[in-house]
């Protein structure tokens, strides 16, 4: 279901990540033009950053979401001056963003439960239209503000 449940054990997270890794590899294979063995270190590094983020989130007594820590770990791994950052980025650059994101959408679509369908029926098509305007307004609002600030700031580039 869609409600947040209790946190899954780390081993189960790792198992799920193995499945995700296999799907990412399959997407690259279908895309063509990749040497699949050469992609393995990059995929393994993404899994390592993810696991490290989960572990940090559990060790620290903060309530910041796990995704925040995953993002911080990956940012640090590729940060200039951090040991092996160049090596890390070189492995990642072999991966295609499209092939990393496509499997995620398969999870989203196959995870649509009967309860979700029932809630949709209750809320009706109205909530879908309202949601689309929510996404549109959020994106346009953020872009407009960012654009205005960038235009007002003296550029150093």
């Amino acid at each position: 279901m869609t409600q947040p449940t209790t946190a899954p054990p780390l081993l189960e997270i790792f198992h799920t990540l193995l499945l995700v890794a296999a799907l990412i590899l399959a997407a690259h294979a279908a895309e063509g033009g990749h040497q699949l063995f050469a992609l393995l270190p990059g995929i393994a590094l993404l899994l390592a950053c993810t696991m490290a983020g989960y572990i940090i989130a559990r060790l620290l007594p903060t309530r910041l979401p796990e995704i925040f820590w995953v993002s911080v770990v990956a940012t640090l791994a590729g940060f200039p001056g951090v040991p092996f950052a160049d090596l890390y980025l070189a492995q990642l650059s072999k991966l295609s963003l499209a092939a990393v994101i496509t499997p995620v959408m398969a999870f989203a679509a196959l995870g649509l439960g009967s309860g979700d369908i029932a809630l949709f029926r209750r809320l009706g098509a109205r909530i879908i239209l309202v949601s689309l305007l929510v996404f549109f307004g959020t994106y346009l609002g953020s872009v407009a503000v960012a654009n205005a600030v960038l235009a007002a700031l003296p550029s150093q580039g």
Partner: protein, 274 residues
């Protein structure tokens, strides 16, 4: 003995029927590839992720009958609960490009922090539709005060209670976001970018306002239009997403929610007509 929580949770690696369907959706989508539909002066770009979503829906036993003998509700639930884990490598991938672009990001630092105020745009169009056209009540406030990701959901639950109309509204948009939001974020930025009104950095920062998969879909859409700037786009989108995670709650409490309450009162007085 197994504990109740592990008994409720099927072991993900044993659900081979689910693996086959996930693999099928992924392969079909990647083989279809990127489809461009030109409309007037811009084009709608459909990335493989949109087709993965469509293929997944067609293979979902709750949507069509094709796989009703293959997949049961237990496996569907396993896919849904894996979604939150499956987005993590994606977030790691995008965040890795922050470092190489750090000087450009520092240059745009003020824009990155202030664009969080752009969240006021969330309710600008959506709340009038919900209140004036659809005559929704307090559900409208929950539905349109934020982009309704986990933080917004938790916030409404704690501020108004899980049974409140506000909670129904935010939950509705949350579910739409999980299932349609990413596809929408894969299509919309390309259309807005083709208006040629906005700095590419601003377009990339706007990508970070939603969930990880929305951020990634939006970055992929922009990268498809501007392949030479792909790394910079990922870096700006990921830093914006990171900053949203930190400042989001403050902006919600002190700015977004008070403004949403005010806006709701004005709209319901005008449009309610009671």
């Amino acid at each position: 003995m197994t504990s109740s929580s592990s008994a409720l949770r099927p072991r993900i690696l044993l659900l081979w029927r689910l693996h086959i369907l996930l693999l099928s959706a992924t392969l079909i989508a990647t083989l279809v590839g990127t489809v461009r539909i030109p409309i007037a002066s811009f084009e709608i770009i459909l990335l493989p992720l949109v087709f993965a979503f469509i293929a997944g829906l067609l293979l979902n036993p709750n949507v069509t009958r094709i796989t009703r003998n293959l997949l049961d509700e237990r496996e569907v639930r396993a896919a849904a609960s894996s979604l939150g884990i499956a987005v993590m490598p994606l977030m790691a991938f995008l965040s890795s490009y922050i470092g190489p672009s750090i000087s450009e990001i520092a240059d745009a630092g003020a824009a990155l922090v202030l664009q969080e105020l752009g969240n006021l745009g969330t309710m600008l169009f959506a709340m009038p539709l919900a209140v004036v056209v659809f005559k929704m009540g307090r559900e409208a406030l929950g539905a349109t005060f934020s982009i309704a990701r986990e933080g917004g959901l938790a916030f409404i639950f704690s501020a108004y209670g899980g049974d409140s109309p506000e909670a129904k509204g935010v939950l509705g948009v949350y579910i739409c976001g999980t299932f349609f939001g990413t596809a929408f974020f894969a299509i919309m930025p390309g259309v807005i970018a083709s208006l040629d009104w906005f700095d590419l950095r601003a377009l990339a920062m706007g990508c970070g306002t939603g969930s990880a998969s929305m951020t990634a879909a939006c970055s992929a859409a922009l990268a498809d239009l501007y392949p030479a700037s792909a790394d910079e786009i990922a870096a700006f989108a990921a830093s914006s997403n990171l900053i949203t995670a930190v400042t989001g709650v403050l902006v919600t409490v002190f700015i977004t929610l008070p403004v949403a309450e005010l806006y709701y009162r004005v709209l319901s007085r005008q449009g309610g007509g009671q």
